[in-house]
């Protein structure tokens, strides 16, 4: 990686990466059994994306 150039990510890619990493961390910290962790990660990721996209659409009428 060349730090000078920087990593270029779109808004959606940034949101997906952020949601995925945080969901995995929360899942591992808050649940002990693997199946519970997977369920928590999937549910948390879904809610992150749903709320993120929802807020995006809620702001859309004010963007122009």
């Amino acid at each position: 990686m060349n730090p000078g150039m920087g990593i270029k990510l779109s808004h959606l890619q940034s949101m997906l990466l952020f949601a995925l990493l945080i969901s995995i961390a929360f899942g591992f910290l808050s649940r002990r059994r693997p199946i519970d962790r997977v369920k928590y990660i999937v549910w948390s990721l879904f809610l992150f994306l749903l709320i993120g996209v929802g807020i995006g659409w809620a702001m859309y009428p004010f963007s122009r």
Partner: protein, 138 residues
Amino acid sequence: MADETAAPAAPPHDSRRETMAYVIGVAGWIVPGLGHALMKMWGRAVMCFLTVGLLVILGAGMRGNLFSSGGNDAFDSLGYLADLGTGTFYLVARSLEANGADVSHAGGDYGTRFLATAGVLNLLAALHAYEAARGRKA
């Protein structure tokens, strides 16, 4: 006659356990995942290390703002505290951002959030390790 209402003195074993819990909490802050690793919680240790590390690398790579101690306002100071939460990874982010931050585009702004989130997440993980070492939850 002994005062029965007075709280009994804590046994030495609890005092040692409390000290170990502090050590584990601080270790988890300095090196993400180390607190859990000291308690042989390998899955959590690896995941803490990887998620905090990835957030720091991405945040620095996106040229997010890494706050320093000489902040101008309260938000800068809060950002500095959040960034310090990554422990030694703060220095890694500093070394990765050789050309400094660039928040003139959305990527840099996202990078700032990634860095701050990495710090807060690591503090949460260190607190979790501390609580687990005290036997409160795991």
